[in-house]
């Protein structure tokens, strides 16, 4: 029963990792852009929520009403105004520009908010739990996060496979030049893709910050976790990203069962193993 518990807790943990990973997976799948600032954008969302909750008295989850549109608009502007210009230059420009953005966000937050650790307070839901048969107790909050991740992935699937804009995203991901020849304005599409990725980034940032303390330097580890989830799941597949998040969570839960200090390391090692044994991930889809 102990192992079942580890499996369940790990899977639920995978929910937040999947939410971290979706934004990264989207921007890579559509634009071949690996956003080094991704983790810092998650943290930025948490700080935006902090400000909103402090100014309006709203609880963090309700503050998403403001945080999501703000990050959406920011994402659109950053892609349209900055990142679009890096896509043609090869490997280095997008990598180094997003690297620069990462450093700017981290140090900007440090200057603005100081190095103090913060946490968003949602209330009693943070510690509520549900009892399952067999003596296993599930936290309501991790379950909520997992359901949000599931809903997010499902809605992206719907977007990609049932809408005209989703069709356009898939076409651009396949062959950006021919997509332009068919009348698609790639610049706008990339900006929209990044903005949608930011919706998930904002949700991930707020949900994560309710349960975990954060400070301006908390971004990079989130990027690594997102990256590991994407690689384990396989590039280009949204359901794969969810699976990758869950597997990462389970690996970490197994590590934590041995000793709390092994949790993160166990995740890294699982990533390493997948990298060596099956580098394209478990459910790869992207053509390169």
């Amino acid at each position: 029963m102990e192992w079942l518990n580890v499996l369940i807790q790990g899977s639920l943990l995978g929910g937040i990792y999947a939410l971290f990973a979706i934004g990264l997976s989207l921007s890579f799948g559509i634009m071949r852009l690996v956003n080094i600032a991704h983790g810092d954008l998650i943290i930025l969302s948490a700080y935006v929520a902090l400000v909103v909750t402090q100014q309006t008295g709203l609880d963090p989850i309700s503050s998403l009403v403001v945080v999501v549109p703000v990050m959406f608009a920011l994402g659109y502007a950053v892609q349209r105004g900055l990142l679009n210009f890096t896509l043609a230059g090869g490997l280095l420009p997008p990598l180094l520009v997003t690297f620069g953005i990462s450093i700017i966000i981290q140090n900007g937050l440090l200057q603005g908010f100081g190095a103090y650790t913060r946490r968003l307070q949602e209330g009693s839901i943070e510690t509520a739990s549900v009892q399952l048969p067999g003596g296993i107790s599930i936290g309501v909050y991790p379950l909520l996060v997992f359901v949000v991740a599931l809903a997010g992935v499902a809605s992206l699937q719907l977007l990609f496979y049932r809408t005209g804009i989703g069709r356009a995203f898939r076409a651009v991901s396949d062959d950006a030049d021919t997509a332009e020849l068919m009348g698609i304005d790639n610049r706008k599409l990339y900006a929209l893709a990044f903005a949608i990725a930011m919706i998930f980034t904002a949700i991930a940032g707020v949900l994560f910050a309710i349960r975990t303390i954060f400070d301006p330097a908390s971004g990079p580890i989130r990027l690594i976790l997102a990256f590991e989830a994407v690689i384990i799941g396989g590039l280009g597949s949204i359901w794969g990203t969810l699976a990758g998040g869950v597997l990462l969570g389970v690996a970490q839960a197994i590590g934590a069962a041995f000793s709390p200090t092994w949790q993160i390391l166990a995740g890294h090692l699982a990533f390493l193993i997948v990298l060596i044994v099956r580098p394209s991930g478990l459910f790869p889809r992207t053509r390169d």
Binding site: G164, D174, T178, L181, M182, G183, R287
Partner: protein, 232 residues
């Protein structure tokens, strides 16, 4: 007034000049052919008109408006559509999704999904298949249909016969009269000279980025074409 007119059109790939002062006209609803050996600049010419290559503004005039150098997606909005060399269907999309993608710009006109299926009935049965599973000829039909879905006034066809068996090529070309019937102008870039001349009213022959010959298609002396084609 002609639908499309290129005036002294020159095109470059970086420092390399691929086109040297090309003058071509296409009338409303006219089908013209562009022939020439490999590397003569035929695809470069189509890409310049389609907006995939930057060129001088006045060198491409469409409906009296200088439009050279506009982006490719703007050209589709204006009514210039491309059927690319090698088909270039979207592999992640089904046949029907590829066609619908062609209609992304929602330009008004007579072409829609049903009419494309009327033109190429075989595609209706294949409509939910992933594009890469189709044969070369079927893919070419999808590519043409995809181009038509944007209701273009000018359709640019790059090497329709590439890699296809003669009987398949015949079927593809049998669809061209229906396109011409809608008053859609067509530029046919072809290596198969006979097909190209049979399907067009006039032709241009390119040689090393320059215009070598420009004549009516019917009854023209083949020996002269051969000379111009190879630059004798």
């Amino acid at each position: 007034m002609s639908l499309l007119q290129t005036k002294n059109l020159s095109a470059f790939y970086g420092d390399f000049q691929a086109l040297f002062g090309i003058d071509v006209t296409v009338g409303e609803g006219e089908t013209i052919a562009v022939i020439g050996a490999n590397g003569a600049g035929k695809t470069t010419f189509l890409r310049s008109v389609a907006g995939a290559l930057p060129v001088a503004r006045e060198s491409v005039v469409f409906d009296g408006e200088p439009i050279g150098g506009r982006s490719a997606h703007d050209m589709v909005l204006l009514g210039i559509a491309m059927v690319p060399e090698g088909r270039r269907l979207f592999p992640s999309l089904t046949v029907e999704e590829n066609l619908l993608l062609g209609g992304h710009t929602k330009r008004a006109g007579t072409w829609n999904l049903k009419r494309v299926y009327d033109l190429f009935p075989r595609l209706y049965d294949l409509r939910h298949m992933p594009a890469p599973t189709l044969s070369g000829g079927q893919q070419q039909m999808v590519a043409i249909g995809r181009g038509l879905m944007s209701n273009p006034r000018l359709l640019l066809c790059d090497e329709l016969s590439l890699g296809l068996a003669p009987v398949v090529i015949r079927d593809i070309y049998a669809s061209l009269p229906s396109i011409a019937a809608e008053r859609t102008a067509v530029i046919l870039v072809e290596q198969d000279i006979n097909r190209a001349l049979d399907a067009s009213t006039r032709f241009y022959c390119f040689l090393e980025g320059r215009l070598a010959l420009s004549e009516p298609s019917k009854g023209f002396d083949r020996a002269a074409i051969t000379a111009a084609y190879f630059g004798f």
